[in-house]
Symmetry: C2
Subunit: 114 residues, 2 copies
């Protein structure tokens, strides 16, 4: 499970982490904020947050003057996964015209396989 794509899928394979991402979509949140609704200790939430951070879904601001390190969602991290899944859809679900439409997009030119 070392490559970046695997890390992203693995990070999402947990309902707690998906719930955290859903809340981070609305606003930046500190560790304590994230832990509040999650019947779980703070260190446990910190571990989940670290998984999301390693996978690239989240960055945390540096503690300049405050102790709090709010986590912020990184939208771009989704593109790698979305590309892979889109490729699957094109292969398997997509009708031929849909494949044709995909091949016209700029992303299609430089795409690698997993």
């Amino acid at each position: 499970m070392s490559d970046s794509l695997s890390a992203k899928f693995a990070a999402l394979a947990d309902p707690t982490r998906r719930a955290m991402l859903a809340r981070l979509a609305l606003s930046e949140l500190t560790l304590a904020d994230l832990a509040k609704p999650l019947e779980m200790t703070v260190p446990a939430v910190a571990k989940h947050l670290a998984v999301l951070e390693r996978a690239g879904f989240v960055t945390r601001s540096r503690p300049t003057k405050s102790v709090a390190r709010p986590a912020k969602l990184q939208v771009a991290a989704f593109s790698e996964m979305a590309d892979w899944i889109e490729k699957c859809r094109v292969h398997w679900e997509g009708s031929f015209d849909r494949l044709a439409a995909y091949l016209e997009t700029p992303e299609a030119k430089g795409a690698e396989d997993a």
Copy 2:
């Protein structure tokens, strides 16, 4: 990691399994076929295949007259994941007009969060 969505993400969090799916996209394959290019023992491949099967990505035909049980891709299994990711894109990547457009759709009314 027990819910269906988690099982799907977890199943894709492994390069070996993604490679198996990629080959299954082209044709049905038996366990021996799948194992051939994968420097791994057959029982190990059988375990990976079982993970894909439990996640719903694959079904296997019943052994009526033959010993071989070719695995077949189940395209529909992708929709649950694709829906979740699409919801993320709408939330996070989408511009405001895109969000507005989504909120007009019927799915938006009854949508639950993960």
